[in-house]
């Protein structure tokens, strides 16, 4: 590692007025040819490049990003990390990610501020209880740390929560202590810095206009900086993935929807757990800065405007005030939207397709951030070996023909 960060490097630089820090990454012009091109410079894409270079010995890689690094959902999400999914396939995938998260700051020598403060999924009715208890039991058998908490235990963790005097009382919750939040931008920056060190060309402000194929084989990408040749292309462009796939003649079962989030003004620590709820629909955590970071549901229509309906914000804030009456005195500082690509079964696609050399990592819907290292790790494997890792094999495109869906609508925790 060339750039080594530590308290010593900070002290040293502070003496020289912080004017001598090195560049985090280069700003290269694209070469004519790469062994692998990753389309999309978010956490998943940069991570894929990093693992390709680090674990699979491929060095001639480009990451092509339309805007700036992390400008998509990586920089727009509510940063919740957990792995308490119902089905085995999902539990393996997301827990693979959580395990990588646990060492990521050290691995990249960049602090992701992965804060394992625990995640609660609240139950507000009999149906929720049944669903959560089943999930807790399945998680246990899969070696996850999810547990059932009754109302009083929830209240102990989050004293400001209104558990009784509300329309749908809190009856209990699933709790995963290893879950938490991380600093989203740092993920993109950390991966970018280390991928760059390993020789990956990160090309920003370069839009892929189309994927060129010949006889079901990829040839390269047409970009705003010219044509770039490659025989392997991995598309990790979240909301825009299906648009790019279409240029290669590939159809994906994705719909791009607005997903909104908001933050409050900063206050001193008041809620130290991540709390999610389906029936009283909102999720909230408090950032290290003190802002309440609040996630809303997806809008019910396709859109690429990065702006959803105001009614969704209202729904979310209603739920927040219902569950935490004192937050009525707080104020919304910013609201924003991202574009999420949603699969019919609320599970991602990490898969090859009918075009040779073309790989997709998409369909993460509302929950892609938590999977970032795991997704990048198995996607790198899939591209390098031209076959899926055993963890992502079930997340193939073929499931939409043979019917082997991984229906995670229950666990996605975001109303679709």
């Amino acid at each position: 590692m060339k750039k080594k960060y530590s308290i010593a490097s900070i002290l040293k630089n502070s003496l020289s007025n912080n004017e001598n820090w090195g560049k985090m990454w280069r700003n290269p012009s694209p070469k004519k040819h790469y062994d692998v091109i990753i389309v999309g410079g978010g956490g998943h894409g940069l991570g894929t490049a990093y693992y390709l270079a680090k674990h699979h010995g491929i060095k001639n890689i480009a990451v092509i990003e339309k805007g700036w690094l992390g400008s998509g959902n990586t920089g727009r999400n509510t940063t919740i990390i957990r792995s308490n999914y119902l089905w085995d396939e999902s539990a393996y995938l997301y827990d693979h990610a959580v395990k990588l998260w646990e060492n990521l700051s050290e691995d990249l020598n960049y602090n992701m501020m992965f804060s394992q403060r625990g995640v609660l999924n609240l139950a507000h009715n009999e149906h929720d209880i049944k669903e959560i208890k089943r999930r807790v039991s399945a998680n246990r058998l899969n070696g996850l740390d999810t547990m059932w908490l009754d109302k009083n235990e929830v209240k102990d963790l989050v004293p400001i929560m209104n558990t009784d005097n509300l329309r749908y009382p809190v009856l209990g919750a699933a709790y995963q202590p290893r879950g938490g939040v991380a600093r989203h931008d740092a993920v993109a920056w950390g991966y970018a810095m280390r991928a760059d060190e390993l020789g990956v060309d990160i090309i920003q402000n370069c839009e892929v206009k189309g994927i060129k194929t010949d006889n079901y084989k990829v040839e390269g990408v047409e970009t705003t900086k010219g044509f770039i040749k490659s025989s392997k292309i991995g598309v990790v462009a979240s909301g825009h993935t299906s648009v790019l796939a279409a240029t290669a003649g590939v159809r994906l079962p994705l719909q791009s929807r607005p997903l909104q989030a908001l933050v409050s003004e900063p206050i001193k620590p008041v809620i130290n757990t991540v709390v999610m709820s389906n029936a009283v629909h909102a999720y909230v955590s408090q950032s290290d800065k003190g802002e309440l970071v609040i996630g809303a549901g997806t809008d019910g229509y396709n859109s690429f405007t990065q702006r959803g309906g105001y009614d969704v914000i209202e729904e979310t804030v209603r739920a927040i005030v219902e569950l935490y009456p004192i937050f009525g005195k707080m104020k919304m500082l910013r609201q924003w939207g991202g574009i999420v690509d949603i699969c019919p079964d609320a599970s991602p696609i990490i898969s090859k397709c009918e075009v040779e050399g073309l790989y997709f990592n998409c369909g993460w819907g509302t929950g892609g951030f938590k999977a970032t290292p795991g997704s990048a790790n198995v996607f790198a494997h899939t591209i390098a070996k031209d076959e899926p890792h055993k963890i992502n094999a079930p997340f193939a495109l073929s499931r939409f023909s043979d019917g082997r869906l991984i229906d995670e609508h229950g666990a996605a925790a975001v109303a679709h």
């Binding site: 085995d88 804030v317 500082l333 229950g410």
Partner: protein, 993 residues
């Protein structure tokens, strides 16, 4: 020292008192917290976010980055802008982010350590050792961040008000009032929205305009306001701030109903206006920006026009002898005002070249003997918790002055926030050195300084011209000014420091403590995109969203990058314009109104009879009935279940969905919608039916009553009712418009009672003596209509408990009476009311499934052994094709089975899994293989042991085999036998008795 401007007409002479950090101060009714503090010579009001530096009042409005306070007397409301919040008698306020006190703040150590708290500090350290981040570093960091303290117990009564209108004018300043005048007595419905409690904007806040149409500004405002009030088509909303501009001209505005008053808790303190308009006119003016210099955050630094506003709007001269530092022509009005009040600025520093400075300014300075520095700048200021000395650089010479206040003007930015929220495009204007609106995306018009027009003389033409697309009247404005008509500005964003110290700071974002040095460092590290810079340094991400500084940072960054500012671009302006109350957004649709409650016509009876309710969708359904105060749910359900199988029980099933289906092609339609075949079904019989999605998975179930081939009544699950009807409508309208079928929801038109148990027939005969309930006359799965008193009822012989049972349908008006009648007749048979939990237990004993319990969106009818429900000869129905996909026709799919504990005392828990191991390791590291899960688990009072229904891989072929069920909190599993999923009356003798 402060002084008073007795000419101020906006402050009453009523004295009030309030406390700040425990000390009592007096103020006038109409003061803001800031003006009241300034009136009392209080300059230090808070500590900064990161370095805990002392901070004062920087502005006089919504743009304030520093003066955020906590209102103790309003449930501890944090982060309140002192420059907006009005004081009232008895208000309690404290400062934020300091410990133990504002003057002696322990956190100020961060300021000393500031060289290491450089940009990206947190990213570059605390990576290890493992566990330290979670247990040590992060808790420390969390505690030192965060500004105000959390609020306390609070329940809001904020309301919403919707508007549909033709025109909204945002901001009732000079341009807004002039625009409103054009709409007087026109056909347009107009809303004029003003954030202050007085109209007038710049006319009331400054000394800039001398006369309009030969009236004083105040006279002109009053005259115009009266004209507007007399015009029926225009409504004025005061104390109201437009925060959000959505698509299709949808605006959100917040009205403070208790501005300057103590909030009464039983009243609506805020009203959120949700406005849909055809045209939006933005006239909310401009915001003055600062200039970065060394210690430009010290208490005592204030924007020049804010200083001017305190004098005009609040009658307080914050300091009699301030230093004025400007790069433009607008500060002339402040200079004039001060002199007219007998105050004398200590010095006037103008960065413009002497020749470019207006003669009038130079003359006034000379006449009044005020120190004048042209082509000069402030190098910095120094002092302990306040400005004490100010250093001026003129060429190579430095002058030190003693003063406690410095008024700064770095020029003005058109307030483009709302315009960009509307998705309009902005453009850089070299003349005003700022971005201004260019191409609107919606029907949006910007006027006056919002549109970048700083020329008062051209204002009238602009308004008349831009509004000519609407049918409005002409206005004329003849404006006389106290400032030069032609706005002149010299580009200056930061001043040069004398020495390059590690500790000296020129701030670019006061709220988040971002310095110019941080920007430089970020660029050095490669963060050369403006959004990266923002995120890496947190520049302009504070509660003020960089209103006074974000353009400055763009300019400074563009210089560092040697790019044009338009190439650098702006960061995204995100709604809301200013922090927006959560309580107001929620409105009344929270707490008791969070979600509507639906009640059946029997609800009052349930209440009287100690029902405990369960939420099923929006419905309130009896979950179980308490026989005595101390009876637990378990006891009640055991009792109810036993009583029913011995005698009889009655359930309020009114919440079940009911759909009436009629038309020429009703039969064909039903055959397509459901898996079952209805062709051979006899009229006036009923059948249990299932509905799939196109993916082959079970979506809903219910009983179908066939009146004729053209007329059916379908029942659905309670929560599935709206979706089933919507799906039916969808197919009829979009896929099969050739089918002549009509649908009506009749869910609400009937109260429905399910009465079942061995004594049911006797009870029914007693209630309906004229009806023959014998098996021959009224066989299982048939239904009949009867006249009953003043109405008609339908009775169906069906059961969900496995016992003899009937369903009665009666219009809700007569429901309760009949229910009571049944009870009086049923008394001698020990008839009991029962709730949903008992229903679930009884049906589980019988092996009937519940949608959403046995099914979870991944279950087909074949998985439930319900092949008999699939119309084999039907060519097509919704979902049929999916049943033959490789995965759905697998042999080892999860299938429905029953579970019986080997040891009869063991309890089978719902949601647990079926495994092959009798014991689990204490800590599971490698996943344990499981076969499936327990979908239903109850203690059966009738069998006297626990029973379960389960979905198990290849379950059909595992009958009789032994497996284990996991148990909560235990490593020892429960041995069970896989049995057929029916525990009671497998021959259906009771059902058909």
């Amino acid at each position: 020292m402060t002084a008073i401007n007795n000419d101020c007409q906006y402050i009453s002479k009523n004295k009030i008192s309030f406390t700040f950090d425990g000390k009592i101060y007096s103020a006038y009714d109409g003061d803001t917290v800031a003006s009241a503090l300034l009136r009392n010579n209080v300059r230090l009001v808070g500590r900064s976010f990161k370095y805990h530096r002392p901070r004062g009042i920087y502005t006089c409005g919504i743009e304030e980055p520093n003066a955020l306070v906590q209102i103790i007397s309003e449930h501890n409301e944090p982060n309140t802008r002192a420059t907006i919040k009005r004081v009232y008698d008895g208000m309690e306020i404290i400062s934020q982010n300091r410990w133990p006190s504002l003057r002696h703040d322990f956190g100020a150590i961060n300021n000393i350590l500031s060289p290491i708290f450089s940009a990206g500090f947190y990213y570059k350290t605390f990576m290890g050792p493992k566990g330290f981040w979670k247990n040590l570093y992060e808790p420390l960091i969390r505690r030192s961040a965060g500004l105000g303290k959390p609020p306390k117990n609070f329940r809001s009564k904020s309301t919403h008000q919707y508007h549909n209108t033709d025109v909204v004018i945002i901001g009732a300043g000079l341009s807004g009032l002039a625009a409103a005048k054009k709409f007087i007595n026109t056909k347009y419905k107009v809303l004029l929205i003003e954030q202050d409690c007085y109209l007038g904007g710049i006319l009331k806040n400054s000394n800039k305009v001398k006369t309009i149409n030969e009236l004083t500004p105040q006279e002109w405002i009053s005259e115009t306001e009266e004209l507007i009030l007399n015009s029926k088509n225009i409504t004025i909303l005061k104390n109201t701030l437009v925060t959000t501009y959505n698509f299709t001209n949808h605006l959100i505005a917040l009205e403070d109903k208790f501005a300057g008053k103590k909030i009464e808790l039983n009243k609506s303190e805020l009203t959120l206006h949700k406005i849909r308009t055809s045209n939006t006119i933005i006239t909310n003016g401009h915001i003055e920006r600062f200039i970065s210099f060394r210690n430009n955050d010290l208490p005592g630094v204030m924007l020049a026009s804010s200083f001017e506003k305190y004098i005009h709007r609040y009658g307080v001269v914050p300091e009699k002898e301030p230093v004025i530092f400007t790069n433009n022509s607008s500060s002339l009005s402040l200079l004039k005002k001060l002199i007219s009040l007998g105050c004398k600025p200590k010095a006037y520093i103008d960065s413009r070249k002497k020749d470019n400075i207006e003669t009038e300014i130079k003359k006034i300075l000379k006449d009044n003997d005020i120190s004048f520095f042209s082509d000069a700048e402030i190098e910095g200021c120094d002092g302990n918790k306040k400005i004490e000395t100010i250093t001026i650089r003129q060429g190579k010479s430095f002058t030190k002055l003693k003063s406690s206040m410095l008024c700064v003007s770095g020029g003005y930015n058109p307030d483009i926030h709302l315009f960009t929220q509307s998705k309009g495009l902005v453009k850089w204007d070299k003349n005003i050195l700022s971005f201004k609106p260019d191409t609107p995306f919606q029907k949006t018009i910007t006027l006056g300084s919002t549109s970048g027009n700083y020329n008062f003389k051209k204002l009238c033409d602009e308004i008349n011209e831009k509004l000519s697309i609407l049918k409005t009247k002409k206005v004329s404005l003849d404006i006389n000014l106290n400032v030069p008509n032609k706005f002149s500005i010299n580009e200056l964003w930061e001043t040069k420091k004398k020495n390059n110290s590690n500790w000296s700071k020129s701030f670019i974002d006061l709220h988040n403590d971002v310095t110019i040095k941080d920007l430089k460092q970020a660029i050095t590290e490669g963060f050369d995109r403006i959004e990266h810079l923002k995120r890496y340094t947190t520049n302009s991400m504070g509660t003020d969203q960089g209103k006074i500084s974000s353009i400055n940072s763009l300019a400074i960054v563009s210089k560092m990058l040697k790019k044009e500012i338009s190439e650098v671009g702006t960061t995204t302006y995100r709604p809301p314009y200013a922090p927006l109350s959560f309580a107001a957004i929620a409105g009344r649709s929270t707490y008791e109104f969070y979600d509507p409650e639906r009640k059946t016509s029997i609800h009052s009876w349930h209440l009287k009879n100690n029902a405990v309710f369960e939420d099923v969708g929006q419905w309130k359904r009896p979950w179980y009935f308490k026989a005595s105060e101390n009876e637990t749910m378990y006891q009640a359900v055991q009792r109810e279940s036993k009583m029913l199988r011995e005698n009889a029980g009655i359930l309020d099933g009114s919440t079940l969905g009911k759909i009436e289906i009629k038309g020429r092609d009703a039969l064909e339609f039903m055959n397509l919608m459901y898996t079952n075949a209805f062709s051979k079904m006899k009229a006036m019989t009923s059948r249990y039916a299932m509905m799939l999605g196109e993916d082959g998975m079970i979506k809903d179930d219910g009983i179908i009553c066939k009146i004729s081939d053209q007329h059916f009544i379908a029942t659905t699950t309670s929560s599935g009712a709206p979706k089933v009807l919507a799906d039916m409508e969808e197919y009829l309208q979009t896929e099969w418009p050739h089918l002549q079928v009509f649908l009506n929801s009749i869910t609400e038109q009937f109260s429905t009672f399910n009465i079942s148990g061995p004594k049911t027939r006797e009870i029914m005969m007693k209630v309906f003596p004229d009806i023959d309930f014998s098996n021959d006359a009224f066989p299982f799965m048939t239904f009949k209509n009867f006249d009953y008193k003043e109405t008609k009822i339908r009775i169906m012989r069906a059961s969900f408990t496995g016992e003899l049972g009937y369903e009665i349908y009666i219009p809700p008006k007569f429901g309760l009476k009949l229910w009571e009648e049944i009870f009086s007749c049923g008394k001698e048979y020990n008839l009991i009311p029962y709730g949903t939990e008992t229903m679930h237990l009884l049906r589980a004993e019988k092996g009937y499934i519940v949608i959403g319990q046995e099914t979870d969106g991944t279950v087909t009818p074949i998985d439930l052994n319900y092949n008999w429900m699939i119309g084999k000869n039907k060519k097509d129905f919704i979902g049929k094709r999916s049943l033959s996909r490789p995965d759905t026709s697998r042999e080892d799919r999860k299938q429905l089975v029953g579970l019986s504990p080997i040891n009869k005392k063991d309890i089978i828990e719902e949601g647990q899994h079926i495994v092959e191991l009798n014991e689990l390791p204490k800590k599971i590291t490698n996943p344990i293989k499981y076969l499936g899960h327990v979908s239903s688990g109850y203690h059966s009072p009738n069998l006297n042991h626990s029973i379960g229904l389960a979905m198990i891989k290849g379950g059909k072929n595992l009958l009789g085999q032994k497996f284990f069920v996991t148990a909560t909190g235990k490593t020892k599993n429960i041995p069970v036998e896989i049995v057929k999923p029916v525990f009671i009356d497998p021959e259906n003798k009771r059902l058909t008795s």
